[in-house]
């Protein structure tokens, strides 16, 4: 029986392959997601393990342990004296101090700073004498290590990209204006092929200390033990000597801690990509289900014959299951290896979207192989189960009776009821998941996932009822313009509503999801620009290059000194703990801020700002409500520099919850500067006397020495944010395109099988005078109709999901907006998909020789 199944597949190689592709792509996405993120993980691991390979113990400052929305402050530096203390400890062979920074920008020869796309831009101050070489994870590619206040070594990628080498000069900007250094060396990190978007600049320790405003301070002391002293023993001895104001860890602990932090980040990317793999597999399952259903129906006589010569139902079931198993396994193996290629493609996509991550040799983990093969095969099997069960219901008498009908199963008699119930349950699950407050995040996501899947399945089940009315609507142009071929095409589309429905359903899923993200993105864009327009009154806005990291306060001071500015108001920001919770603290210049930021007070007025003093604070209304605070209440603030101070709430304003530009609490600039060693600005808001566009150029020029800044008008800023949303949307579209492609293969399959099934009918049509052109047109029209039915189902579904999410996020003022242009594009894409899917089947139908087709049995 297995032989029957295998031979059957072997006899239909092309069709089997076409069917398998539906799963190949999903599995490739999955394996690609694993390969890419594993490779990134390994590269990061290598960075950290290399960094501490020959380090037995590391002394660092205490971490403040405060973080907010992914931002956290680096550990405070330690006094340089600790190094001498450590060197004195018994059992220490050698110890070296280093300083580092994550926001030191390298300046290209054209004056632009190098954009790392969110990746760190390191500055290292390291001891480069040979005896300290073991602590240095960097390897020189060219030149020598820097020595003294004017020399720097840079990383290989920057050297190559900018065509720089020893002897050239490069600008470096940390806290102050950019300064020029002479390049004396080019280095790389361990043996990594790429450190992604990250850059580094290496100095000797005193130069880095000066650059980073850390005179007399170190960020880490790395220690190697004498022979016979274990790392743990070394850690114990050093701890005893230096006390508890600093952290002492073994090198391994330090490396693990750092790579764990990064692992969380790659984990997010992994799940993000796996979600799209899941969607692709789900669509693939629809295609497999549909194809197998059709082939089972077409092989009714074959199954009946098997039954008459003694095959049991179980054997018939087995033969279809084996078929699905083989298709699934074949597809999974192909997909697994295709994933290796896809991983490269995904990385290219990320790089194109300015998310360049470190790379090393490709990691092809056992987990990737096992999970990809297992999931791909199981999904195919699950999709094949229903067709297999249908095959067992073929009665033996079908072997002798022309056109025997399969008995309807008990389930299919109630299909409409089941569909309605599924949709209702799905909508309830989604509403509950999105609108209820007290659910755990995990449960919420589970409910969402199940709800969306159930919704798609339910609508797909229901869609066989909708096919006939929908076909009449979308068939209108075909009827009008397609002549006889168009009319026949419409009839064909409606002939087996179940088949048309499940073919269209596969496309529906893709269309629904792109519609969903498209509509949400449009709402996001609108909410974003409204929030900015509501809050910002300034003519010009200065931010860092990426728009969100804080930049040195010196920038604001420099701007204030410029001639063309009328008023400069600095908005400081940093992470803090407010009422014992991670938060953002903002420092405002009370005397100027009201001219550049529009406070819409719910309690208080603009006067409050001028009199904030040393202990006054204002809160956005959502925070006040959340923490149950009112004017006159006291809040406790702990800065990342470990300074604590209590403030009194003086005013409450509408904080634009969708995009709050001010932090969880705002205090006066003086109070802020007292809490932080190195205060940084989130914005410098500038008013100019004349036309902002003209002034922008002169301000830009005035701030030239601070390359990591961006000077924009309010509209430019909004446009820039829009562009970033569009870029992310594009990434989502590209990833979702995969499922649209899969449904395209599903359409090709269904059409090809339908043409095969109607061979005799096509012969008859040709015999009574249908031309080849008309035949092709008939198949093409049918295909386009199926595609349009998919779009007609998918568009409203996507909009519905977007409404649901918008409702759920209403407390954040997320708006709902329909991107008409995008939706029209999706309809056009569907039509094109229909035309493309019809190419091969239509050609086949037109090529049939009339006589052969009529004699076909």
């Amino acid at each position: 029986m297995i032989r029957v199944a295998l031979r059957g597949l072997a006899g239909r190689k092309f069709r089997t392959l076409l069917t398998a592709i539906a799963i190949v792509l999903g599995v490739a996405m999955m394996s690609g997601a694993y390969v890419l993120t594993d490779t990134i993980d390994k590269a990061f691991d290598a960075i950290f393990v290399d960094s501490y390979a020959d380090t037995d113990a590391v002394v660092t400052g205490k971490e403040a342990g405060i973080s907010f929305e992914g931002e956290s402050a680096p550990p405070a530096p330690i006094p340089e004296s600790v190094l001498e203390q450590v060197r004195g400890v018994d059992g220490v062979e050698v110890a070296a101090g280093s300083v580092q920074d994550l926001q030191t920008k390298l300046i290209k020869p054209d004056g632009e700073s190098i954009d790392t796309g969110g990746a760190p831009s390191f500055a290292f101050g390291v001891e480069t004498a040979p005896e300290y070489d073991r602590f240095n994870p960097l390897n020189l590619v060219e030149g020598r290590w820097p020595k003294g206040g004017r020399e720097v070594a840079i990383d290989e990628a920057v050297a190559e990209d900018e065509n720089l080498g020893p002897g050239d000069r490069i600008g470096v900007a940390a806290l102050g204006p950019a300064r020029q250094y002479e390049i004396v060396g080019v280095a790389k990190y361990g043996d990594l092929s790429s450190i992604g978007g990250a850059t580094f600049a290496i100095f000797d320790v005193p130069t880095a200390q000066a650059l980073l405003d850390k005179k007399g301070e170190l960020d880490a002391v790395q220690v190697a033990a004498e022979a016979g002293v274990t790392p743990d023993e070394l850690v114990r001895r050093i701890s005893a000597e230096v006390g508890s104001s600093v952290t002492v860890q073994s090198g391994t602990e330090q490396a693990t801690e750092q790579s764990d932090e990064v692992a969380t980040f790659t984990q997010i990317i992994r799940y993000f990509l796996l979600t799209f793999a899941g969607i692709a597999l789900f669509v693939g399952a629809f295609v497999i289900f549909n194809t197998l259903s059709i082939t089972v129906a077409q092989r009714t006589r074959e199954f009946a014959t098997l039954r008459t010569v003694g095959a049991s139902r179980r054997q018939v079931l087995g033969s279809v299951i084996v078929e699905a198993l083989v298709i699934g396994l074949l597809a999974s193996v192909l997909g697994l290896f295709a994933g290796l290629g896809l991983a490269i493609g995904l990385n290219k996509l990320f790089v194109a979207l300015n998310l360049d991550l470190p790379q090393t040799d490709t990691v092809f983990a056992t987990r990737t192989i096992v999970v990809s093969l297992l999931v791909g095969t199981l999904v195919t099997l699950a999709a094949g189960l229903s067709p297999a069960l249908r095959a067992t219901r073929v009665p033996p008498i079908a072997a002798v009776r022309e056109g025997a009908q399969l008995p309807r199963s008990a389930l299919s008699r109630h299909s409409t009821k089941i569909a309605v119930v599924t949709v209702v349950i799905a909508v309830l699950a989604l509403s509950y998941a999105l609108l209820a407050d007290a659910i755990e995040t995990g449960t919420r996501f589970l409910l969402l996932g199940v709800g969306v899947l159930a919704l798609f399945v339910g609508v797909a089940l229901l869609s066989s009822r909708l096919v006939v009315p929908l076909a009449r609507i979308v068939g209108l142009p075909a009827r009008r313009l397609g002549g006889a071929a168009g009319k026949l095409a419409e009839g064909n589309a409606m002939r087996d509503p179940g088949r048309t429905a499940s073919t269209a359903a596969a496309l529906m899923i893709g269309i629904a999801l792109v519609t969903f993200v498209g509509v949400l993105a449009e709402g996001l864009r609108k909410s974003n620009s409204d929030a900015i327009e509501q809050q910002i009154q300034a003519d010009l806005v200065v931010t860092s290059q990426d728009g969100y990291t804080e930049f040195p306060a010196a920038v604001g001071d420099a701007a204030a000194d410029l001639d063309g500015t009328e008023l400069v108001s600095n908005v400081r920001q940093d992470v803090a703990e407010i009422e014992d919770k991670g938060a953002n603290l903002t420092g405002l210049d009370g005397s100027t801020v009201t001219s550049v930021y529009d406070f819409r007070w719910t309690d208080g007025n603009d006067e409050v700002l001028a009199s904030l003093g040393a202990d006054g604070a204002i809160l956005p209304d959502d925070v006040a409500e959340d923490k149950d605070l009112a004017v006159g209440d006291s809040i406790s603030v702990l800065s990342t520099d470990n300074k604590r101070k209590d403030f009194v709430v003086r005013g409450i304003y509408d904080g634009s919850p969708f995009y709050p530009l001010l932090g969880t609490a705002s205090v006066s600039q003086d109070a802020f500067d007292a809490l932080y060693e190195r205060p940084r600005n989130r914005f410098s808001l500038i008013n100019v006397p004349g036309e902002p566009g003209a002034a922008q150029k002169s301000v830009e020029k005035g701030l030239e020495s601070f390359p990591d800044t961006r000077v924009q008008t309010r509209q430019q800023w909004i446009d820039k944010e829009d562009e970033e949303i569009s870029q992310f949307l594009l990434l989502l579209y590209v990833l979702l395109a995969l499922s649209v492609v899969i449904s395209l293969f599903g359409m090709v399959n269904t059409l090809a099988l339908s043409v095969f099934e109607r061979t005799r009918e096509l012969g008859m049509l040709r015999a009574v005078g249908m031309t080849r052109r008309q035949t092709r047109r008939m198949v093409r029209h049918e295909s386009v109709m199926v595609a349009l039915i998919g779009a007609a189902l998918g568009l409203p579904l996507g909009i519905f999901l977007a409404i649901l999410v918008t409702q759920a996020l209403s407390e954040y003022d997320l708006q709902f907006a329909i991107p008409a242009g995008a939706l029209i594009t999706f309809v056009i894409v569907s039509i094109i998909a229909g035309i493309v899917a019809a190419i091969l089947p239509a050609r086949r139908a037109a090529r049939l020789r009339v006589l052969d087709a009529l004699q076909y049995e």
Binding site: V4, G8, R307, T308, V309, G310, V400
Partner: protein, 257 residues
């Protein structure tokens, strides 16, 4: 209709040694006004090691009778036994087992599995039952149907006659109690049809195979030991060892009735 009732009782009453027995078979398709009475109470026995032909014009009920006798369909009334097993007592699994040991089929359109070779097609009933063919018998069978040199060919590489030979071998390979042939020559030219009939006749003579053949071809019916004529759902006439002329005369008699 009334004429039919007036005819003498012509039911093929159970012979002494019958492999298949049917009692009071009737079969109604559809319900109410649309109801079609395909069979109206047929009782018969199929004799062991004989070739029984069932003849009748289109719509006479001969196909329905065969479907009921061969356990492909259930009668509205009455019951069938094959080799002593009452079919109405059996569930699907038991009927499957019964098919493996007691029933063989030969179809008008051959119904071979296109992906299997001739040999594998012939083997199929045994393979499904988890058995192996007896080598000597299998060889003899291939000789008999003249397919020794076509063993590895796929159905698409065989002529219609050759395909039907494969089907005959497949029906005989498990030495079933009874083989049902449904218009076995219906899709073949007359010369090839003749060869197939010889083969079927031979299987009765050489192997003592019991065979029931449904046909509307007088020449095919004339090869039978016993011919049952069906019209309007009842058996109206029975002939033994008739030649083609007698068969044609009988057909004419029934048609003119």
């Amino acid at each position: 209709m009334a004429d039919v009732v007036n005819l003498p009782e012509r039911d093929g009453a159970a012979p002494v040694d019958s492999v298949v027995e049917a009692h009071g078979l009737s079969r109604v398709y559809g319900e109410g006004d649309a109801a079609v009475h395909a069979l109206r109470g047929v009782t018969l026995g199929v004799e062991r090691a004989k070739l029984t032909a069932v003849m009748g014009p289109s719509g006479s009920g001969k196909s329905t009778l065969m479907h009921l006798l061969a356990a492909l369909d259930q009668p509205t009334e009455g019951h069938v036994s094959i080799a002593g097993n009452r079919l109405d007592d059996l569930n699907d699994t038991q009927i499957t087992k019964l098919r493996r040991t007691h029933i063989g089929f030969i179809f008008q359109f051959f119904n071979l599995l296109p992906m299997l070779t001739a040999e594998e097609n012939i083997d199929l009933p045994l393979t499904l039952a988890g058995e192996k063919p007896e080598a000597a018998f299998f060889d003899d069978l291939l000789d008999k149907v003249g397919l020794q040199d076509r063993r590895k060919h796929r159905p698409s590489e065989l002529s219609g006659g050759q395909q039907q030979r494969v089907a005959i071998a497949r029906a005989l390979v498990s030495r079933p109690s009874v083989v049902f042939a449904d218009e076995p020559t219906g899709n073949l030219d007359s010369r090839t049809g003749g060869e197939i009939l010889d083969l079927l006749r031979g299987s009765v003579q050489d192997y003592g195979q019991t065979l029931v053949m449904v046909t509307h071809d007088a020449r095919a019916a004339a090869t039978a030991d016993r011919i049952l004529f069906i019209a309007d759902g009842v058996i109206v006439k029975e002939l033994h060892d008739a030649d083609e002329h007698q068969v044609l005369a009988a057909v004419e008699e029934i048609t003119l009735r």
